[in-house]
């Protein structure tokens, strides 16, 4: 069973993502902030990370940089979940190592498709 870590500071968004991914057989854990996320990355050893850019105690960019700096986590595919719809933010995400970018709001099928694509590629 593939493990997905969802990092978002909105409890109901985390809830929604968990409902969708669990229905498709993924094991889902969550973190609500930068520090929490960094701790969970080593505890949960996820196969894929869904990352919001605006977090309670900082920005998703910090988590992305941390992930890409560490040999143990550098290979984990990261999909950004963001309310920023601007192309420049998406370009920056890809440049800094993210594998995909989903703009909020999104439908269940596009989330599942993106997650499946990147989990199987890894």
């Amino acid at each position: 069973m593939h493990r997905v870590l969802v990092i978002d500071d909105e409890p109901d968004i985390v809830y929604m993502v968990k409902v969708i991914l669990r229905s498709a057989g993924f094991q889902v854990t969550s973190a609500s902030g930068v520090n929490d996320a960094i701790a969970k990355l080593s505890e949960d050893d996820p196969d894929l990370v869904l990352l919001d850019l605006r977090l309670g105690d900082g920005e998703g960019w910090q988590v992305l940089a941390h992930l890409k700096d560490d040999d143990r986590t550098v290979r984990i595919p990261v999909i950004i979940l963001s309310a920023h719809a601007s192309p420049s933010t998406a370009e920056r995400a890809l440049r800094e190592g993210a594998k995909g970018y989903i703009t909020k709001p999104f439908v269940a099928s596009s989330l599942l498709e993106t997650v499946r694509t990147h989990v199987s590629a890894s």
């Binding site: 909105e10 409902v19 902030g33 605006r54 309310a83 709001p105 269940a108 989330l111």
Partner: protein
């Protein structure tokens, strides 16, 4: 009357007075010099400053005798100086007759202001450029209002997008569920859907309330309203979450207010205390002569120092409270409504926890 071509080309008064009788020329010079809302200056063809008026001194800060003779690039930020912005503008004005620009400029004290600048070329009778008239307006305040509005809209869109994301995600998921399980799943997730719809509803109401307040004073009728009955009603509508307690001591005080707005003020302060405070919330009123003061105090961690100055502005929330549900508009509405009654609201910085004090006219 001397023709313009006979005059000394270095005389800054020539361009605007050319062809005029001396008395008219003197009147116009005095008029220009006395204008205070516009910086009106004359430049030589190479950009050297030749004349300076009262408006220029007021907006940019230099006195005439310290700036005349210097180059006008002194008003431009370093990056514009490096890129030769003024020279380009003067070239364009020479070719086209006039150039208009909006951008940041630098005052004598190094502060920046947002300027609207019109540069008009002044030609001699043979078509050669004898200088430029440069008229500058300080539009910093308008620019700040525009920026605040853009920020406000961006924040409002972001706040709306969160509940929208939950609704769109959950509904699309439920639609794709097998028919035999869809109804069961809908029941299971209905509470989440309903909570997010309520959140959007209250955010939209808050946005409308704030927009109305921004449009200036609305005609509202103030009535004497007893505080105790207001709070009796509010505690039923907004009960304390489990484990939290509200202690009330409102005496028999009556304030001048409009009932719906008064409810909203204290509902927002109570919700704020429920979300960010500890387990005890104290609401107490006392007499201050003309005014009645009402405090809503919690025993939580208090307001972050970095937030205090902007606490009552829209979309200001503490970092630690990002995860706490809320639109970021509650306190802005509190202030707007309190002020619409001729009252004040403040945060008592000396208090432990957060202590908001509302002062309203005695009813």
């Amino acid at each position: 009357m001397a023709r313009a071509a006979d005059r000394n080309p270095d005389d800054p008064t020539i361009p605007i007075s050319a062809g005029l009788r001396p008395l008219e020329a003197e009147s116009i010079r005095m008029l220009v010099e006395s204008v205070r809302d516009y910086a009106i200056i004359m430049l030589a063809p190479d950009g050297t400053i030749r004349s300076w008026n009262a408006g220029a001194e007021r907006i940019i800060g230099y006195a005439g005798d310290e700036i005349i003779g210097r180059h006008a690039s002194v008003f431009y930020p370093p990056e514009d100086v490096a890129s030769g912005k003024l020279e380009r503008e003067l070239d364009l004005a020479t070719r086209e007759g006039r150039v208009e620009d909006e951008g940041w400029r630098v005052r004598k004290d190094d502060t920046h202001f947002w300027a609207n600048v019109v540069i008009t070329a002044l030609y001699d009778e043979r078509g050669g450029v004898r200088g430029f008239a440069k008229v500058t307006r300080d539009l910093t305040e308008r620019r700040q209002i525009e920026e605040a509005r853009e920020r406000f809209i961006a924040n409002a869109a972001h706040e709306l997008r969160t509940p929208l994301t939950v609704l769109v995600g959950m509904i699309s998921f439920l639609r794709s569920a097998p028919p035999e399980t869809a109804s069961e799943m809908l029941t299971e997730h209905l509470e989440t859907l309903s909570r997010q719809a309520d959140r959007m509803h209250s955010l939209v109401n808050n946005l409308l309330d704030l927009t109305k307040l921004e449009h200036g004073p609305e005609l509202i009728t103030l009535d004497p309203i007893p505080l105790a009955t207001t709070f009796d009603r509010l505690i039923v509508a907004y009960p304390a979450p489990e484990g939290k307690h509200v202690v009330r001591d409102l005496g028999g005080f009556t304030v001048l207010a409009e009932a719906r707005r008064l409810d909203q003020i204290f509902a927002n302060l109570l919700i704020n205390a429920y979300r960010h405070g500890g387990n005890f919330i104290v609401v107490r009123a006392w007499d201050e002569g003309d005014a009645i003061a009402i405090k809503v105090q919690d025993d939580g961690p208090g307001v972050e120092p970095s937030l205090m100055e902007h606490l009552f502005e829209p979309f200001r929330r503490g970092r630690s409270s990002q995860a706490v549900e809320g639109s970021g508009l509650g306190l802005a509405i509190v202030r707007g409504f309190v002020e619409s009654f001729g009252g004040t609201v403040s945060l008592d910085r000396s208090a432990e926890g957060a202590r908001f004090v509302v002062r309203l006219q005695r009813g």
